[in-house]
């Protein structure tokens, strides 16, 4: 493909039509869901009516962001094997979610993971701390998604950045505001099917150039770019960096509020468990597809062409789609990428709104005594607030390098949310003070250390060298969060919390009393 011409950045009619059809269908679903969304359980948890299989698909929809689709395919196209190492880190958290978190979470909680942390502790301080960890995770994740959305749409469709933010914001707010969790779930399911289907099609069309044999594809890649693309390269230069990133990805997955929230949509622990099995399968399959797509782009499009369009390789999957399927297919994949962003921000917004309304308004301000109708109203108000905030942040951070914010969101989730959640499930002597100290330490250290790290201190603030050596702080912030949580708990025994642990166990393991 010496004279590769791309229509990328031009108005693509196919893409616009496919995207409009997606928006029209999902808004119809929202209209249908809105009629079934009146109580709090309906708004936050789709009245626990989602099956394990559906929730598995929705979880994978929540997790497979456009960043992981375009970003990982791009990384593979430029670096080969190293991209695979990165995606493995994103997958390995899921089995841990199943073994340690999913079932106790479903049995103990009502709408948010803070329900579980606060289960036998003093509601107010724990809810405030957990909400802080939760909101920090969501806000950084949202900024990365919104800025990514704006940039992507500008490149793909030639629309102005601000218009892209406006479209994403307004459509996403309509899903959540009117259709609550039910609409959000179906948006995730449709998006997951589109993304998995689109990526599968792209792989089939790519492999048709290689007699349907992926080995031939890898061999041609090695012929073209030397054997080094088929083995680890410079991804791991400092083992501590790799371990710290691994911890952030794995334990962060188990502490993402919008993922954890999905477990309250299924009827019981058995379905919660099943949904992780389904999600892990689809996400793993998806990462294998992106690996083949990356190599396909490397061979069929070429690294030189890929870097012309984006230095980080983010356009690799789209260029490959155009190369094997023409203008219609690139339009289709572009529309899928846009739909993907919409779905992920909808999930994040719902989760942020539930933290504001369920954790802070009801359980802190109203002492746990708010009437149903009132709480749903507050939840809808909170949705509007988070949605508008997402748009404003998207505009404020325009053109900024926000790639590190996903890593930061995972680091906070791993350091603030995961330790307190795990300790509250497993450890009898965990106390209110311990929980609060653990969350504050984890979130505070994660944010402070990433500012001092090479990621921000050098790459963004342009200092000569970093004060903190690792690119991701999770190794330190997560360990500190556990240690502080344990030490403070031991120093401040809480009789009541210990007594309640037996009742909690009955609910954790047998599901008796679960909502």
């Amino acid at each position: 493909m010496e004279n590769f011409q791309s229509t990328l950045g031009q108005v693509n009619i196919a893409s616009i039509i496919i995207f409009l059809v997606f928006v029209a269908i999902t808004l119809c679903i929202t209209y249908w869901a809105a009629k079934k969304t009146k109580t709090t359980s309906e708004f936050y948890a789709a009245d626990r009516s989602i099956s394990g299989f559906q929730n598995g698909l929705a979880l994978s929809g929540d997790y497979m962001s456009a960043a992981s689709f375009l970003g990982i395919a791009g990384m593979v196209s430029l670096k080969g094997y190293d991209g695979l190492i990165y995606s493995i880190g994103f997958l390995v958290g899921w089995p841990l979610v199943m073994f340690l978190i999913a079932e106790p979470l479903r049995n103990l909680g009502k709408f948010t993971f803070a329900d579980v942390v606060a289960f036998r502790l003093k509601q107010k301080p724990v809810r405030i701390a957990s909400s802080f960890g939760s909101l920090m995770t969501i806000v950084f994740y949202l900024i990365a998604q919104m800025v990514g959305a704006g940039a992507l749409v500008t490149t793909l469709f030639g629309l102005p950045y601000e218009i892209a933010i406006l479209i994403v914001g307004l459509v996403m707010i309509s899903y959540v505001l009117f259709g609550g969790m039910l609409a959000t779930t179906w948006v995730q399911i449709i998006k997951a099917c589109l993304l998995l289907g689109g990526a599968t099609l792209l792989v089939i069309m790519t492999l048709s150039h290689f007699d349907m044999n992926p080995i031939k594809l890898f061999e041609q890649a090695a012929d073209k770019y030397t054997d080094s693309v088929l083995s680890p390269g410079g991804f791991v230069t400092n083992p501590w960096d790799a371990i710290s990133l691994g911890i952030a990805l794995i334990l962060g997955t188990a502490g993402l509020p919008h993922i954890l929230m999905r477990f309250f949509t299924v009827p019981d622990a058995k379905q919660a468990r099943k949904s992780v099995f389904i999600a892990t399968g689809f996400i793993g399959y998806f990462y294998i597809l992106t690996f083949v797509i990356g190599f396909g782009a490397m061979v069929l499009v070429g690294q030189d062409v890929i870097t012309i369009f984006d230095k980080g390789g983010n356009m690799a999957a789209l260029l490959l789609a155009e190369s094997v399927g023409g203008k219609f297919f690139i339009g289709f994949i572009a529309a899928v990428a846009f739909a993907t962003i919409l779905a992920v921000v909808a999930g994040l917004t719902l989760s942020g709104a539930s933290t504001l309304s369920h954790d802070l308004y009801v359980n802190v301000i109203k002492n746990g005594k708010a009437d149903e109708a009132g709480e749903v109203k507050v939840a809808r108000g909170a949705t509007l607030l988070i949605g508008v905030l997402a748009m404003v942040l998207g505009l404020v951070f325009k053109g900024q390098n926000v790639a590190f914010m996903v890593g930061l969101a995972f680091a906070i989730a791993a350091s603030a949310n995961f330790p307190s959640l795990l300790l509250s499930i497993l450890w009898k002597k965990f106390t209110t003070k311990g929980a609060v100290a653990s969350v504050i330490t984890g979130a505070g250290l994660a944010i402070l250390l990433i500012i001092l790290s090479p990621t921000v201190w050098v790459d963004i603030f342009k200092n000569e060298s970093a004060i903190f050596p690792l690119k991701n702080p999770a190794l330190f912030s997560m360990t500190a969060s556990f240690l502080v949580g344990i030490i403070v708990s031991l120093a401040s025994p809480e009789k009541e919390a210990q007594n309640k642990f037996e009742d909690e166990k009955l609910r954790t393991y047998l599901g008796i009393g679960a909502e």
Binding site: Y81, L84, I85, S87, I88, G89, L91, V92, W94, P95, L96, M98, F99, L100, I215, F218, E219, A222, D223, D227, L230, S231, P232, F235, V236, N238, P239, A242, I243, G246, I250, K270, R273, K274, V276, F277, T280, G281, G284, Y287, I288, F291, L426, E502, D503, K505, L506, Y509, L510, G511, I512, G513
Partner: protein, 104 residues
Amino acid sequence: MGINEERVQEIVNSSAFKELVSKRLKFSITLTVIMLVVYFGFILVIAFYKEMLAVKIGEHITIGLPIGIGIILFAWILTGIYIRWANKTYDKNVRELRNQVLQK
């Protein structure tokens, strides 16, 4: 069917319940450790013995390819093993204990 409060204490202190909890913890922690060892083992091999994964098994194909894809499949298979165990063994024990608590 309401919860019988007296039975709650009895069940919580019963050896059957304690056994169930410890069985569950043992199984899930074992699987967790296996997953972490496999993943961080992989990362450490990359950090210190990178060339091990560059060993050729074909003209160009390296052993790193099946290993990398294999870890993805392994993670999924582990969740499958857990589900199988939970559906077969754990759920049955849970049902028995639940019936005892919720009876009468």
